[in-house]
């Protein structure tokens, strides 16, 4: 698991941001984790710490409003929680969500299998590859 993030919370966030990720098998999740690990390898420790804290807040803050942690919410409620963070009036919270969202999107769409799944097939051969 990237950065020793809590696997259940992280996967609940990933499947809320990219609903198709719920269809990933074990190999798919391993690929996603590998992409994120590589992306964050050389990033400052402070950034990784912030991500862990932010993910922890996502897991436990919903208890105040919904009486349940993030992982125990249904998909619609999870979406509402993340949408709230995305639109928060405090810029640092919006930026925090932006960072987490970026990492999740890199992990999912940075995999060659995801590119194939959406029909993206750019090739160094360019026009010749179409023939």
């Amino acid at each position: 698991m990237p950065l020793n993030l809590d696997p259940a919370t992280f996967r609940a966030v990933v499947t809320t941001i990219v609903p198709e990720s719920s269809a990933l098998d074990d190999d798919g999740w391993r690929d996603l984790d590998r992409v994120i690990e590589a992306l964050l390898r050389d990033r400052p420790e402070s950034l990784k710490r912030q991500l862990r804290i932010f993910l922890g807040a996502i897991q436990w803050l919903p208890v105040l409003r919904y009486g349940r942690s993030f992982t125990r919410l249904n998909p619609a409620a999870r979406t509402r929680v993340l949408a709230h963070l995305q639109n928060d009036r405090i810029p640092k919270i919006r930026v925090g969500f932006w960072g987490l969202r970026t990492i999740v999107l890199a992990g999912y769409y940075g995999r060659p299998a995801a590119a194939r799944a959406i029909g993206y097939a750019a090739s160094p051969q360019g026009w010749e590859a179409l023939r």
């Binding site: 993340l82 970026t102 160094p124």
Partner: protein
């Protein structure tokens, strides 16, 4: 610490550094020793695979994820042999006369810049792409603009033997783009200039530089540095800084030069950009063919934006769509049917926006969005949506609307949607290329860092030759203007060599 000496050291190998290296390289035949120090790696031709994260990690600063200090804008710039010319699309524009006039730099004329720019456009094979090589993503932009009576223009590009991979921004896998890595640097090396990759300059002092050469990390792309890893002191009679609009000011600040040059870092600007995406009912040719063939600049003066065709890769596209969940996924699932337009805001230099350094000497870009830039992004987004629908799109992703998916049936309401648009830093996806300013040209140290030929005020051995020289936004793709300015700086250095070397 190892110690080496050169007559001239050039820091950076992009549009500025590559040009200076080429233009000064005939001096090697007269016995002068010239080195280019480049922080990034030099990749072999077969290492350009076009794979998104792999190439971004190899060719961009921070893998393309360098952020402004408050985290609200991503700044994309190259870090490799050839600098950002390795990752641009090769769009080659003459400096606009109105902009150079407004810069009002004593001794700098548009006629001189244009003459030099044309020299490099010829050298880099700049031309208009033949019609049969233009894809539907670009043709639909033209069709939409013409339907709306917009004055669409074709980009001249600097390609040779383009196969239409569409992968320009990941480094051309076919070596078709004529950046400094393909043209100016090889010529400079042929004439005797040494290029030292993986070499980061830490500080500069009176005719000396402190630098660190790093080993090639295990599994990384690129050749090892020609120098052994370690710390170096490099003596040089002339130093030319071409590390770009972020690293050149940061290097001067790390070197303690702000005491006598208080304008270092100020005047930083860029082209804040949003990627607009629309879905058509049928697949179009989009990820094949040169990605950037047309632009629309008729709204530059009135609404502060330029539109350019573009085509990006899965992760960058996903990152550039606002929101998440099902509406976001719906556009990603439609990838072969997507048309894209890049909205570039013409952002003027502002007192707050500047390059600084943190406690460890790393560059920090303090940036806040100016009202004109926000206006430009919103109006650019609305205009893009009109073009998409005029070209037949069935829905448009509108990153600044409350409901980000706009159906064709709502096309008539676009101005109304624009009036209630919401630009929220940290939520609205904005990234920028074309970093400019930070070591502006001018007449004296109270208002600028260098004179009109790039010589740093009060330091006759120190020159700047990159986009940091711009006193304000160029308002177009900048590499040709950087080369023209670098050519002026190189000419000045040649004149100064007898006195300085």
């Amino acid at each position: 610490m190892k110690r080496v000496s050169y007559d001239i050291v050039i820091v950076g190998s992009g549009a500025g550094g590559g040009t200076v290296a080429q233009e000064l390289s005939p001096l090697c035949r007269e016995g002068l020793r010239i080195a280019v120090l480049e922080k990034g790696p030099r990749l072999r031709d077969d290492e350009f695979t076009g794979r998104e994260l792999e190439m971004a990690g190899a060719l961009y600063e921070d893998g393309g994820g360098f952020l402004t200090a408050d985290g609200t804008m991503t700044l994309a710039f190259g870090c490799a042999y050839g600098g950002s010319t390795v990752v641009y699309t090769g769009t080659s524009m003459l400096p606009p006369e109105r902009v150079i006039r407004r810069w009002n730099v004593p001794g700098l004329t548009h006629a001189d810049l244009e003459c030099r720019a044309r020299k490099f456009m010829a050298e880099n094979n700049v031309h208009l792409i033949e019609d049969h090589l233009i894809n539907e993503n670009n043709k639909l932009f033209v069709a939409g603009c013409r339907k709306l009576n917009y004055d669409v223009q074709q980009f001249p590009v600097n390609i040779k033997g383009c196969r239409g991979s569409s992968l320009c921004n990941l480094g051309c896998p076919n070596q078709a783009k004529q950046g400094t890595d393909r043209v100016q640097l090889p010529r400079a090396e042929q004439n005797g200039v040494e290029v030292v990759t993986r070499c980061q300059v830490l500080t500069i002092g009176e005719k000396t530089l402190a630098a660190r050469v790093t080993a090639k990390p295990a599994g990384a792309k690129g050749d090892p540095s020609p120098w052994e890893p370690g710390e170096y002191q490099i003596d040089a009679k002339i130093i030319v800084l071409c590390a770009g609009a972020i690293h050149t000011p940061a290097l001067l600040l790390r070197s303690g030069m702000a005491r006598t040059l208080p304008r270092i870092g100020y005047g930083f600007t860029s082209h804040p950009a949003m990627i607009m995406v629309a879905e058509h009912a049928r697949p179009i040719t989009n990820f094949v063919g040169h990605p950037k063939s047309y632009y629309l600049d008729q709204f530059t003066e009135s609404d502060h934006f330029v539109l350019e065709t573009c085509m990006y890769f899965p992760f960058i596209t996903a990152k550039s769509l606002a929101g998440f969940g099902a509406p976001h996924s719906a556009f990603m699932q439609a990838f072969p049917r997507l048309q894209m337009i890049l909205v570039l805001a013409c952002d003027k230099a502002d007192a707050h926006n500047r390059v600084a350094i943190d406690g460890d000497g790393r560059p920090v870009v303090n940036y806040r969005f100016q009202p004109e830039a926000i206006h430009g992004l919103i109006r650019g987004a609305i205009t893009s949506a009109k073009i998409f629908f005029a070209a037949g799109a069935v829905r448009v992703h509108m990153p600044v609307a409350r409901n980000t998916t706009i159906e064709a049936g709502d096309a008539a309401r676009l101005d109304e949607i624009g009036a209630s648009a919401e630009f929220k830093p940290g939520k609205t996806p904005v990234s920028a290329a074309h970093m400019q300013g930070g070591c502006a040209m001018g007449s004296g140290p109270s208002g600028s860092v260098t004179d009109s030929q790039g010589r740093v005020h009060g330091l006759p051995w120190l020159f700047v030759a990159d986009a940091s020289l711009f006193p304000n936004s160029l308002e177009i793709n900048p590499y040709v203007t950087i080369m023209a300015l670098a050519d002026r700086v190189a000419q000045r250095i040649r004149q100064e060599v007898p006195a300085l070397v």
